[in-house]
């Protein structure tokens, strides 16, 4: 009884329900087709942003809350461990950075040296300084090359900026270099500005050269560049040696005395070049030859301009 009545009411309701279903399905299909063609979805969402956006935030709340809680209640020990690990990592990274900086500096220096070598077109040999003895009475270096590497007494040692000295003693694996600043050392030089020839001695003041035999009438000024003159056949001509820093008359009044600062970087160089087997010069050499380290490496621009002035003359 109830079933039949139920069925009867269901039937009439079913017809209406099915009809409504069909209508709704049609509407939905039309909407979908229109959206698929016209991509309305984004526009509708954009228009409903006021309602939709807070919903997104609301739905995202549990996740963000969970994340915040995990940070807040993170294990203290774990954090400490992490901190320690990070500290160690930082130390390691810093050490590595320092090492890298040192390597980068060395690389730059070596490149400069190689540049010199290429521009000279000379037969040179790279050597490392292994021991420095810059006392008051002996200005010497020890290099890590010796007789086994073909080093001979008398070879000239230069760095990227100028002449450093000459080899005075050769051992099988090492050699000793007497620097031009050694009081026992003398090097014949030429003033690039005037062509004046003179001799530069090592000085008792460390790191200085002294020129004691300049005639009073000679034109020597502070800032003059001295290059090797090649006289005596020991040093090749044209290498920068020093820059005049101080000129004064001697007490006797017969000569001028000048002090000069070596062009080579005596204090800092730890890689140097050994010049090999230079033929002894024949006859008086030109006061200033075109040979020499690149002008870009000259300590200051004034000197190089005076050099070029001399050359153009």
């Amino acid at each position: 009884m109830t079933l039949t009545r139920d069925g009867g009411s269901l039937f009439s309701a079913n017809m209406a329900g099915t009809l409504r279903l069909i209508v709704y399905l049609a509407i939905a299909s039309v909407l979908m087709v229109l959206d698929h063609r016209g991509h309305w979805m984004g526009k509708v969402r954009y228009g409903a942003a006021i309602v939709v956006e807070p919903l997104y935030h609301l739905a995202g709340l549990p996740a963000s809350g969970f994340r915040a809680a995990r940070v807040a209640f993170a294990d203290r020990r774990k954090l400490t461990e992490e901190n320690k690990q990070l500290r160690v990592d930082l130390l390691l990274a810093n050490a590595r950075l320092n090492h890298m900086a040192a390597v980068s500096r060395q690389n730059k220096r070596l490149k400069k040296l190689l540049d010199t070598r290429r521009q000279l077109g000379m037969n040179v040999q790279l050597a490392r300084v292994i021991d420095i003895d810059l006392g008051a009475f002996s200005h010497r270096l020890t290099l890590n090359t010796g007789a086994h590497q073909g080093v001979k007494v008398g070879q000239v040692v230069i760095d990227a900026h100028g002449i450093m000295g000459q080899v005075t003693q050769v051992l099988p694996g090492t050699c000793t270099v007497m620097l031009i600043t050694d009081p026992d050392h003398a090097i014949p030089v030429t003033d690039t500005r005037t062509g004046l020839r003179t001799v530069a001695h090592g000085s008792h003041e460390s790191g200085q050269l002294s020129l004691t035999t300049i005639p009073v009438s000679a034109d020597v000024r502070v800032g003059d560049k001295l290059v090797s003159s090649g006289l005596g056949g020991r040093f090749p001509p044209g290498f920068p040696v020093a820059t005049i820093t101080h000129v004064e008359p001697q007490l006797s009044g017969m000569f001028l005395t000048a002090r000069a600062k070596p062009s080579a970087d005596m204090q800092r160089a730890d890689e140097v070049l050994l010049l090999r087997d230079l033929a002894p010069p024949v006859g008086p050499p030109a006061p200033a030859s075109v040979d020499g380290p690149p002008r870009a490496l000259a300590p200051d621009a004034v000197g190089s301009s005076s050099t070029s002035a001399r050359r153009s003359r």
Partner: protein, 163 residues
């Protein structure tokens, strides 16, 4: 009148809650197992009361769900309308099923919903979803008894308050 209004409030709050649950961001691996909450809530209300859920209401909720989280405008509207239509058609029988049979029926309903979804997607030319797409109805069927009991409890409490 007052009672009607309270019921409407409860109904719409559960619907909004289900929409929020649908939006709930989850890890990608769990995402596939997220049940289709609006469908479950609508099934419940369609079973429980005669006049709360009609096809029009289902359609409107579906449109809302589409605007919030959908591929095509009208896709979820169509799916929910079909779902509610089936539930209303078999309401008299489903209501008196034991819980496990009801859960099976819900599984069938959700599976049917998935099939409709697949058809719509292939019509629209969207890429077919992965195989884990089929897991959600199972989860939904498992969740169903708990949801049913929970919502029943809420309604009972509200009625007790009124009385």
């Amino acid at each position: 009148m007052n009672r009607q209004r309270v019921r409407a409030i409860v109904f719409w709050s559960t619907v909004v809650l289900s929409l929020l649950l649908m939006l709930l961001p989850l890890p990608q691996s769990v995402m596939a197992f997220k049940p289709y909450w609006p469908a479950l809530v609508l099934i419940y209300w369609a079973l429980e009361s005669n006049d709360v859920v009609s096809l029009g209401v289902a359609f409107a909720i579906g449109l809302g769900a589409d605007v919030i989280d959908g591929i095509l405008l009208g896709e979820q509207a169509l799916r929910l309308t079909v779902l509610v239509f089936i539930v209303l058609r078999f309401r008299a029988r489903l209501r008196f099923f034991p819980m496990w049979q009801q859960a099976l029926a819900v599984l069938a309903l959700l599976a049917n919903d998935r099939i409709i979804d697949l058809i719509l997607r292939s019509f629209a030319g969207y890429p077919l979803p992965p195989l884990s797409f089929a897991a959600a109805p199972l989860v939904g069927a498992v969740v169903w008894p708990f949801l049913f009991l929970l919502l029943d409890d809420v309604r009972a409490r509200l009625r007790a308050h009124e009385a």
